[in-house]
Symmetry: C2
Subunit: 509 residues, 2 copies
């Protein structure tokens, strides 16, 4: 495939949709120019066909051997990696993100696919359990064997800010396929042709390996139309989403309106508070400022784990740290955000926070899709009184909350909404104050980071990219790391079942 | 404690509520007479105090050592067992259930408490995970340690049909306390004084062991008032419920209306289809009829796992089996259901199903709270056209679905709502037909039973008492067995965290 033969239509199993109906172009946010390709929203008939295919593919795919699915995931990873130069070419144009970022994100995407391949080969995620029969008991105790099985066809929504790692072949798709769930992706409108390349790779790999065609489809369309129809269709059994709080809440509402509601895992909104304890501020001021400046500006601030709240006690140590941070932010060139609309949302959020924040510590700028960083400041009392100050500024910006003393951190953390992460900068001399705060923040965030930054979410066994509402829709799950597969598995128990009728994984070897 | 000193007021931590406000009496459904004790709905102030205490108790309870909580659960079990004669005396009067049932249910309740004690001592349920740091990597890989922690205070709704095992000290409470969640129970109005005895035991045990008083409260009040207020309070982080579909759906709606929705695990409604394959019908006719008659009538049919749909191919084998079943049902004496209102609901459901079922195979009777069993029959075509025939008849009744041939079982199972269980009676000669059906029913039920009955839910590692909607609100969980604790735990990841600040369970030994 190359950029000259984009088709711009949905992937309906192994077929492509028609080039008619509503069409759209993608834009290069760095130039503001439309890109020279058109894509077409799927028709109702195409969506229906994708759903019917997913439904038909479910039972064979669910009951395929994990080893086969592992080989599928690895082949997708290999075939994606082989398209690196085309993906970089198109994704950089669609997102304005630099080549190195796309290159790294592609590597992460391939790593995720391989990670889930390893996990399902190893098999612990299927949580096999066997209770032996006991015929001597009154009443006799039956033999029980349980295993976690795929929940059914899953709808995945591509994320604006990760054209690869949280989109067509991203973590949601990888974990759903690993579980044994067919996937219908709703492509994101900000990177439709990156989506076409990736969907083409998945589709070709499936076909080559001889899988039922409904294992994967990818639809173009609006979230409120195609997306809503997918979430409300009885054949879809779970939803994965990464995006805005309003988007995630809409999907939850759609799902709850069904005759039989289904779980929606929505990763939505997080301010990622950073608590700066006094001894750390004293001793690590430069390191903190450097780490935060890089983390706030990374990806032009468009990460769900961007540190958006810096909480510190008033004093010269904080002043020195902010001075340094200020200088680093000033050195940042304006950079293109993912879209002009995103930049506009960012500017609106900045205005909303400014209305209640005392001081603009660093004045940034938003022009067309370009943004340079903002740093706003408010005192702790005002922050605790104003829920508006918890507006997510999705871009290169943070709000400094100046406390009278670190003993106020607990009260501040008590008013915070649920978070993906909370970060603590401390030295051993802060130990007691940190120990007092920790039990509060561990109940309000999925991951606690020490002396580091929350951006950079490892794909590993122990990762939790989750947290209480509104960070996600269900704090009991994660969308990154090994446990992400749990979203798409459910336990089934087999009682006194003849061996040949058990799922293969439950049979005695 | 004895029956002469019932107080009839809520348990607000270690305090008791006031004897004023709306009062109610309980009834003995077997006699239709009011019992001689009054209980009082809690006031808003009392509810608020219980919530504040639970909130205050959460962090210390969450961070208590599993060993301590295991000792708590075992002491509650021992102290409950010591009240056996009083519990049997009062619970039989409140529920009309026979002594032997209450005795067994108390034993089950104590077993559940001890089972969770064993589980948290062993610790696997906390799913500890450690990813080592790798400083040689670019960028350096952080150390990640994850563990599952209690979600927060939990509201548990007592179930009408299990005055002990799914009520004040039932599986929801046991698993929530095991997880480290304070519990506020909303007592069920059908067994308020059994509830008072059990709450008294829990409260006294907690106090004796020196736990913060908010670890447990029990409130009397209406589901639409006290229950709703609890579910919608920001301090409550999860809900456990066993009861009707309308009740469970109301709780889900309450929870979704919160600013920050919380998970509701509602175990609601199940018809528990039983598929009778031809060779089994031929060879095991008497055994099937005997097992089904006992299972349908057990607990006067008021079990969520009562077999409510019997699906079989037309023919002499089925006729013979039904004749035998009919005779066994005829031999059943009318028995008191849990309440007159419950009996009325049962009669209404029977009428609704009769309106579309061709034949009354066995005519039962409902009079005051007493019911004798019903067996209705419909042909498969009619069943598949009429969703009304999936009305749950919560009492001693089943609907026989007569198929033309066992190859129709797949189509029938495709129209069925989600179920807690599905049962298969088969012999080796039915193997192929069973293998064809199995993939469908495993996706529509939490437990598949072979040549047995679905009633009798083992408390064990591999048990799944769950299933797709409307059987439960989330098929990824179970309310019975070891995995029930997962409902009340969430993973938290600690990144580069100094050892002394880690939860004890995550520290290197």
């Amino acid at each position: 495939m190359n950029a000259t033969n984009f088709h711009g239509t949905s992937f309906i199993g192994y077929q492509r949709g028609a080039q008619h109906g509503k069409s759209q172009q993608a834009f290069n946010p760095a130039t503001g120019q439309a890109l020279p390709w058109q894509y077409f929203h799927c028709s109702d008939t195409e969506r229906e066909k994708a759903l019917a295919l997913a439904d038909a593919a479910f039972i064979p795919f669910q009951n395929s051997r994990p080893e086969q699915r592992a080989e599928l995931l690895e082949a997708i990873a290999n075939n994606l990696a082989a398209q690196e130069s085309l993906i970089i070419d198109i994704a950089t144009q669609e997102t304005g993100l630099p080549s190195v970022r796309i290159k790294n994100e592609l590597a992460r995407t391939c790593f995720q696919l391989r990670h889930f391949a390893t996990l399902i080969r190893e098999g612990k995620c299927f949580d096999k359990r066997i209770d032996a029969a006991d015929n001597a008991r009154t009443p006799p105790k039956p033999e029980l064997r349980a295993v976690k099985l795929a929940v059914g066809p899953v709808t995945v929504f591509g994320a604006s800010n990760f054209p690869l790692a949280f989109s067509v072949a991203g973590g949601d798709t990888a974990s759903a396929l690993a579980a044994g769930c067919p996937v219908i992706v709703k492509a994101h409108s900000l990177h439709p042709f990156t989506a076409e390349i990736v969907a083409g790779v998945i589709s070709a790999t499936l076909k080559q390996q001889g899988w039922p065609e409904g294992v994967f489809s990818m639809l173009y369309g609006a979230g409120t139309e195609t997306g809503k129809a997918l979430v409300q269709d009885a054949r879809i059994k779970a939803v994965g989403f990464t995006g805005s709080e309003s988007g995630g809440r809409a999907l939850q509402r759609y799902a709850s309106e069904r005759q039989h509601p289904i779980p929606v895992f929505a990763e939505m909104s997080s301010l990622n508070p950073v608590f700066l304890f006094p001894h750390a501020l004293d001793e690590l001021s430069d390191e903190i400022a450097g780490a935060l400046a890089a983390s706030i500006c990374n990806g032009v601030g468009q990460f769900c784990t961007k540190p958006g709240l810096l909480i510190a006690p008033r004093g010269v140590a904080l002043d020195r740290c902010l001075e340094k941070l200020n200088a680093l932010l000033t050195a940042q060139q304006p950079a293109p955000m993912l879209s002009q609309q995103g930049a506009k949302h960012f500017a609106t959020a900045i205005t909303a926070v400014k209305a209640h924040a005392n001081t603009v510590t660093h004045e940034g700028k938003v022009e067309a899709a370009y943004a340079s960083p903002f740093l706003l400041t408010v005192d702790a009392q005002a922050f605790m009184k104003r829920p508006e100050l918890q507006t997510e500024m999705f871009g290169p910006a943070a709000l400094v909350i100046v406390a009278d003393h670190e003993t106020q951190f607990g009260d501040i953390s008590n008013v915070l909404n649920g978070q993906l992460t909370a970060t603590v900068w401390q030295t051993e001399h802060d130990a007691e104050a940190v120990a007092n705060l920790l039990p509060r923040i561990q109940n309000n965030a999925g991951r606690i980071v020490f002396n580091g930054v929350p951006t950079g979410v490892e794909v590993s066994h122990a990762m939790v990219h989750g947290g209480p509402s509104p960070a996600t829709s269900d704090a009991r799950f994660t969308s990154v790391g090994a446990m992400a597969i749990d979203r798409f598995l459910r336990p089934v128990c087999f009682q006194n079942t003849p061996t040949h009728l058990l799922p293969e994984i439950l049979r005695d070897k």
